[in-house]
């Protein structure tokens, strides 16, 4: 007790008490505040929705209609979810520039902040898949071998075994998946853009999706090892045949012409 009473008189005592008091109020605030913070969040959310709505009306409503109910030039976006918007606008497919067999990829028009706002607005219209957490598409958490198997069962019939892409009917195509960000791979599976079927968690579980992403990360990026040398784009035997008919035989004929021209005169003996 003595010790304590001595310290009570210490010049810094008042200061320490003050600190403790502050910490206590801070802690109290922290436990009591969530209501307030939620309020702040909802207001940020509604601000985002407001902003998103504004962006939507300028950039998208001409096709997708007011209130995203759909129009003659674009489908209804009610219930497509934030993930779909994040994918479509993030990969530059939306806003679509002109009508064609399918909306092509192009450099994104909106910043990520604006995309989030658009996504928030569309999500507010009806429930749909959300933008995934980062951990949901981290390739390091997947099993590439299993992913390859799943990819060949579910995706390669359109996208080719290493995701080099392929043709669909009437000028539509499944694009190359080389260097597509894991986040968009995840969202593409989740939302099924355009002619691609969607693979909700009931079809491919979260782990399945992670595995597929891990496989693509292993074989379909610019950093993927290519033990055999130049890959010729991974288009299979057609590309190889073209190479044989051009560079392959070309080099050999050049050599043949060279040999043919290199004539030592045969002396009569």
């Amino acid at each position: 007790m003595k010790k304590l009473s001595v310290r009570r008189r210490h010049p810094l005592a008042a200061f320490v008490v003050l600190l403790l008091a502050l910490a206590a109020t801070g802690g109290l605030y922290a436990t009591l505040a969530p209501a307030d913070e939620a309020q702040a969040e909802t207001s940020a959310q509604s601000l985002a929705i407001e902003e998103g709505k504004r962006l939507y009306e300028v950039g998208c409503s001409s096709c997708h209609g007011r209130g995203a109910q759909g129009g003659s030039d674009g489908p209804s976006l009610v219930g497509v979810g934030a993930a779909s918007v994040d994918f479509q606008v993030g990969t530059g497919r939306m806003p679509m520039a002109q009508t064609g067999p399918q909306a092509p990829e192009k450099p994104a028009v909106y910043t990520q902040a604006e995309i989030d706002q658009l996504a928030a607005y569309i999500a507010s219209l009806g429930p749909g898949p959300n933008v995934p957490e980062e951990s949901a598409y981290d390739p390091a958490r997947g099993d590439a071998a299993r992913g390859g198997e799943l990819f060949r069962s579910n995706c390669s019939q359109c996208h080719n075994f290493v995701g080099s892409g392929g043709a669909l009917t009437n000028g539509k195509e499944a694009p190359s998946l080389r260097d597509v960000e894991p986040r968009y791979i995840f969202e593409a599976m989740l939302t099924g853009p355009q002619n691609m079927p969607s693979f909700p968690d009931t079809t491919l579980t979260e782990q399945d999706k992670l595995d597929i992403i891990a496989w693509l990360d292993e074989v379909a990026t610019s950093e993927s090892p290519s033990p055999g040398g130049f890959s010729l784009g991974g288009y299979g035997p057609v590309g190889e045949g073209l190479f044989a008919w051009t560079f392959g035989i070309g080099a050999l004929i050049a050599v043949a012409v060279w040999i043919g021209a290199r004539s030592t005169k045969a002396r009569k003996s």
């Binding site: 390859g148 198997e149 080719n160 080099s164 292993e218 044989a244 008919w245 392959g248 043919g260 004539s263």
Partner: protein, 552 residues
């Protein structure tokens, strides 16, 4: 020299006269005494081989064939032709723990475990593609120069068999690793077999030894690929080469180069030195390609499973046309009474595919039947001087090209931003229309070239020098061709078309003319008639014009 074996007397004298013979000579003596090499070598060492780069195309085939055998032997040491299921635990991470056939697992091991395995695999596959490219170019060189005519028809047939066998060796080889492309290919083959009416399903059971895929097909393909077909091919290659030596090689026309001789370099030493060098160059080029460019990356394709497919599942290029025939053909199906299905979608491609090949083998016999040409030919023709044949060749190539494009329709759609449906329709129509167009256009071009040759002979070469005559007229100076070029341009012979004879006999009675003969006469006209031959200048014409009355 090895006089020793010929006469004992000289042998006895030899040491006295010149001491001990050098070691090389003694070895040669030893071998000759037992194998009779000398007379063989004497007869063949001075065989002449003419010099032209296009005559080296056959050698490209020969050397790629040798490379294929060498690398194939190496691969055989490590490949396990078995469909037994194993779990993969090799060093290739993205396949860890997958179930696969032993064949596929051992193919992966060749890539990642066997020293030099990946390189050898890639050399083998690139050499296979280049081999068949070489065969094609070689064959068309022979075709367009008429080198298949008597006496070389049999050698043409040997060559044709080599082409067909090469295609099937390629097909079986492609199927061996049991990756997903292999399996998809075998599956299509199975479907085609099943489409054969009546015997289809029996054939399928016979070949696969049970339901698809079964356990037998890979071991069976293995034996076919490494033993049966290469063995037959080796025999045919030897026969092909023996016949070349026997017939002697054709050569292009030129001064002193006649139908009775061959002008070129002796087989030994000049030609052998060149050929040996060329072998190493071919090996080098193919190895360089294999060391830098991936071919058939089976480690990315995954093991075959009948429930999995992929885009870009095409055969190697030489079967692209068969794939194209299947893709182009509408999927017609008839169910005939009794419940049998006739699957025309596969049946018709299955019939057209061998037909497209067979016409190649039969062509020399067709041409000699039409032209009634039974003479021997040792001068290689210039393609322009046989416009109908050249046109037919180009027409065939066009049909082949169209079907090959049809086989890669998806890639062409993606890379040229076209609709795959449009490409398929283009190929369907093009298959019938384009070869006909190609035939007539080619013939026109040949005729144009013949006309130019005629002009060149009669009026000489345009020098580009303009001269003004005293009375003011401008003329271009033409320089007469040198003698050897005149010879090249005029040495070919021109036949006259066959006639069926008069419609009526001497009594005015209608003769019975065999309709087949009529067809033959008609065809003969397409080969030798006015639309196929510009009469080459006669020496009278030449002298009249070059004696120079006011020509320019």
């Amino acid at each position: 020299m090895s006089t020793a074996t010929e006469s004992p007397k000289t042998t006895a004298d030899a040491p006295k006269n010149r001491g001990k013979a050098p070691a090389g000579e003694r070895v040669a003596d030893w071998a000759d005494g037992r194998l009779g090499i000398y007379s063989l070598a004497k007869a063949n060492m001075r065989k002449i081989f003419p010099d032209h780069w296009s005559f080296l195309l056959g050698e490209i085939c020969l050397y790629s064939f040798v490379i294929l055998i060498l690398t194939g032997v190496y691969l055989t040491l490590f490949f396990v032709p078995s469909m037994a299921e194993v779990e993969y635990h090799g060093s290739f991470e993205p396949m860890q723990g997958l179930l696969m056939s032993e064949a596929y697992a051992s193919a992966l091991d060749i890539n990642f475990e066997v020293r030099g395995g990946l390189l050898v695999r890639q050399i083998h596959h690139w050499a296979a593609l280049i081999f068949v490219v070489g065969i094609f170019l070689h064959m068309f060189r022979v075709f367009f120069t008429g080198a298949f005519r008597k006496p070389r028809e049999v050698n043409w047939l040997f060559g044709f068999l080599l082409l067909v066998l090469a295609i099937f060796t390629g097909l079986t080889g492609y199927s061996l690793p049991d990756d997903s492309l292999s399996g998809i290919g075998i599956r299509l083959m199975e479907a085609a077999i099943l489409a054969v009416p009546v015997v289809g399903s029996y054939l399928q059971m016979f070949i696969f030894g049970g339901e698809f895929p079964g356990h037998d097909i890979i071991p069976r393909f293995f034996v076919t690929h490494v033993l049966l077909l290469p063995g037959i091919m080796l025999g045919l290659v030897v026969a092909h080469l023996i016949l070349i030596v026997y017939h002697k090689h054709t050569h292009y026309a030129g001064p002193g180069r006649t139908n009775e001789n061959v002008v070129g370099y002796p087989l030994l030493p000049v030609y052998m030195a060149k050929a040996g060098g060329f072998f190493f160059l071919v090996f080098g080029v193919i190895t360089m390609i294999a060391a830098t460019v991936t071919i058939n990356p089976i480690w990315l394709l995954g093991p075959y499973r009948p429930d999995q497919v992929s885009t870009d599942a095409q055969p190697d290029w030489y079967l692209g046309f068969s794939e194209g025939l299947v893709r182009m053909m509408p999927g017609w199906e008839w169910v005939i009474p009794g419940g049998y299905t006739l699957n025309f979608g596969l049946l018709i491609p299955l019939a057209v595919f061998p037909a497209m090949l067979a016409v190649i083998g039969l062509y020399p016999f067709f041409e000699s039947w039409v032209t009634k040409d039974k003479r021997e030919h040792h001068i290689a023709q210039r393609p322009r001087n046989s416009p109908t044949r050249t046109g037919l060749g180009v027409a065939w190539l066009t049909a082949f090209g169209v079907t090959t494009i049809g086989g890669g329709n998806d890639l062409f759609a993606v890379h040229f931003n076209l609709s795959i449906n449009a490409i398929t329709w283009f190929c369907r129509i093009g298959f019938f229309v384009l070869p006909v167009l190609a035939f007539f256009i080619t013939r026109r071009i040949c005729m144009g070239l013949q006309r130019r040759d005629r002009d060149k002979v009669l009026h000489g070469r345009e020098t580009g020098i303009i001269k003004r005559l005293p009375h003011g007229e401008f003329v271009e100076v033409h320089q007469p061709l040198p003698q050897d070029q005149l010879h090249v341009l005029t040495s070919h012979d021109q036949a006259t078309p066959m006639e069926v004879g008069p419609e009526t006999d001497e009594n005015g009675v209608r003769r019975r003319i065999n309709p087949v003969e009529r067809v033959r006469a008609r065809l003969s006209r397409t080969y030798y008639g006015e639309q196929a031959q510009i009469p080459k200048p006669t020496s009278e014409e030449y002298h009249e014009i070059t004696s120079g009355h006011g020509h320019h």
